[in-house]
Amino acid sequence: MAHLNGSSDGNFRVIGTRPIRHDGVEKVTGQALYGADYSMPGMLYGKVLRSPHAHAKIKSIRIDKALKHPGVHAVITGADFPEVKGVMAQVGELVVNTHYLSLNVMARDKVLYDGHPVAAVAATSKHIAEEALELIEVDYELLPPVMTAEEAMKPDAPILLPELRSRFIAHRTDPGSPEGPDRPTNVAAHIQFQRGDLEAGFKSADFIVEREYRTATVHQGYIEPQNALAIYNPDGHITIYCSTQGSFNVRTLTASILGLSEGMIRVVPAEIGGGFGGKTTVYLEPLAVLLSKKSGRPVKLTMTRSEVLRATGPTSGTKIRVKLGATRQGKITAAEVWMAYEAGAFPGSPFAPGAMTTLGPYHIENLKIDSFDVVVNRPKVAAYRAPGSPASAFACETALDEVAEKCGIDPLELRLRNASHEGTPQPAGPPFKKIGYIETVEAIKNSDHYRSELIGKNRGRGVASGFWFNGGLQSSATVNVHTDGTISVVTGSVDIGGTRAAMAMIAAEVLGLNVTDVRPIVTDTDAIGHTDVTGGSRIALATGLAVYDAAHDALRQLKQRAAKLWEKQPEEVQFKNGVFTASGENAAPLTLKELASRLARTGGPVTGRATVNAGAVGAVGNAFATVCVDVEVDPETGKVQILRATIAQDAGRAIHPSYVEGQMQGGLAQGLGWALSEEYVYDERGVLRNTSLLDYRMPTCLDLPPIETIVVEVPNPSHPLGVRGVGEVSIVPPMAAVANAIYRAVGVRMRELPMSPPRLLKELMRKQGTSVEQQAAAAD
């Protein structure tokens, strides 16, 4: 393992350049195979029957008519699944209980949300499978739906999971202990972080801002629906092709749901059409395996868009209360935050990461954060880009804007006066190492955008910041040296946004190669060591670290081979700019190419290998971003147009700046959708009403301006290249930035997401109403 002795000096040859990605040509010519593009000889098509009810008992399911339908080869229901004991499994940044996961992929005696699977069919065509679904008869006994955390937390609320008891978690690594009386509840867990003396902190404040916020359930919105193709061999071996962020996760979770050994399952990750955390778990894979086993044929399932919206992990809706105490000079003296995250039908919302990131950008001595994981009759949430942090940042960063206003200081200045830096305790306790938060605020402060004047009626500018801790986790990498001196870099990290290029660049940097001499490959679960999900902003960081180490391992062996040729000691061999040298006689310099052609004679091929647990070696770097947006509000309709948007983010080190910018722009764009238009709309029966992309409204390119990016590089001291990870934090600040901009534009504080035209219009009318009354009063 190479030394983790702080970042290198930044004199890079390849890192920081913008080569064309290696998998690019396949992707622009339509040749790249995404999950749904695979097919197999004799393949059947699967379809899933889903509950039309939010909360109901399943009294009976009759499948005989469906089985007799011509072309149908297999039907499965909950009865085909084994009982699974609950084991906690890490899924992305979230932890899930495999018992509940099993109930989520196929309901047993109860359905818990509109879209919950109750049966699945395999047939010779999609259309026949769809016809067969209509022949399955399910008898339901309806139960009252519980749709929000607020309702679910009431003492007399209907109970979703009778065996559920609440856990209290007192610190970051606390497994939790029972909380409250031993009786059924919808509150799965409560985490609490506390420091300082809250009462004294609020006493020393000149004023207090106390507000309540709500955020709607929103979906990751990847363009590619979930898919899975399974082949069950008569000897019990299983191959699964699917679009997933974590092929090893799919293997572990499918094995545990089906009661199989992991070794029996090989998962081949297809190209993936977006995930944002939503493809870190399983939905279709166990169903495809069972259908293949029953039918003896390969079975492919793909979801429709409405299935994606109804039944795959969105992220939590929340209710949040924030209380901030501050001095007139803008020093935050105390903060108290209470948050309830809707988990969907089973426990596992991002309530803990939410708590761990709340107010992370600020050094607040007296702090109390309470966060709750609450089950409701909605689809079980999955990770979504910096899970938990965006909702709490929306609340806290708009409350902070009110503090800045009360103090009469610039909102960026308020942030600088309270900014976290090296040594500041994180919300969860441990101190930050070197971080670049202040640098992101300064970058916005000095940006063209912030310094420009915003003129015009109903226009306003808002800023906000965000924190995400980033993931570490495990990765493996292999570097194969070919006989012509080119190399391949093999990892198990699914490439969701250009990480193949980053891996190739790191290896090229270490081995003095051109990036075009490196072929980066993503392989399946049998061909590489365990690798955790592509998530947690961890690929450039952790898999990058594995590639860096594997390239160094190859280099060490290559030096030995050169030494052997020259009859010298390996320590005598130098390597610089792609050339091996040694002093003294019989040591004519060798390029990597020349040396590679002589490997057969010096002991055989060279393969560098490395595995890492980046969390365990403390290489994880924390990420911060600050965003500035200008808006124009149409006072007639309440519609908000984004005029200009700039994001500054600390990448630590940008390996491929174009893809770093891309992550910043993409996260910001998702945040703008979250801010203005995206939300799940349920009717009173708990049925989702907007199940298409027409009605679940994500930003189009007409809704967005060009997105300006400022890549800040404060190297992560714990990573050899200074990398921090860039995938997630960009989604944290936008919602509050937009809310703050709307306030500056039209004078109303929006405390509920999305800030859609009807909501904003209501607030505008309320404001006018008040002023009309005031005018009337003044006239008297």
Partner: protein, 186 residues
């Protein structure tokens, strides 16, 4: 279930005959019958544009058209965009500008952009955004896509070939265009 129908169409410059059920969409025919999986499925309701193809010169969501409606039509898909040894300038610019992250939306964007540049070789930024508004991308925030299309338009207008991937033979798209012109002449 109605019987399968024989349909004749010109796809990427080649006359093709296929069998399809009346209920199959053109997208399903392209992907499942003809194994042209470059056109992607994101919604099947005309809302995402991932399935965009060019039919008789106009960009269309292939999920909203039936396979049988392809009878006698000329269809261009992403598979026909590049020559064997040369990318289309739009493809090249998408790569240079890092306009794709996951890439699932890319075929649809390329076809919409191609249709735009065919009818308006010098689009403004607003025109580009308008022409691409039917294509959703969740990864990029569109910024780098819009830049790539603008750059491609400029490169085409200046008569330069994009750097790299130089080649000689006509692409399938160009063949299709010639075919269309010939049809018109007739």
């Amino acid at each position: 279930m109605a019987k399968k129908v024989v349909v004749e169409a010109n796809i990427n410059g080649e006359p093709i005959e296929f069998l399809c059920e009346p209920r199959q969409s053109l997208l399903e025919v392209l992907r499942d019958v003809l194994e042209l999986t470059g056109s992607k499925e994101g919604c099947l309701t005309g809302d995402c544009g991932a399935c965009t193809v060019i039919v008789n010169g106009r960009p269309l969501c292939s999920c909203l058209m039936l396979g049988v409606e392809a009878q006698g039509k000329t269809i261009q898909t992403v598979e026909g965009l590049a020559a064997p040894d040369r990318l289309h300038v739009l493809q090249q610019k998408f790569l240079e500008h890092a306009s794709l992250q996951c890439g699932i939306c890319t075929p649809g964007f390329l076809m919409s952009a191609k249709a735009l540049l065919d009818r308006n070789p010098k689009p403004t930024e607003a025109e580009i955004r308008y022409a691409l508004a039917g294509n959703l991308c969740r990864c990029t925030g569109y910024d780098k896509i819009v830049r790539a299309v603008a750059d491609a338009a400029q490169t085409l207008a200046s008569g330069q070939q994009p750097a790299g991937h130089l080649g000689s033979g006509p692409s399938a798209t160009e063949q299709t265009e010639r075919f269309l012109q010939e049809q018109e002449v007739k």
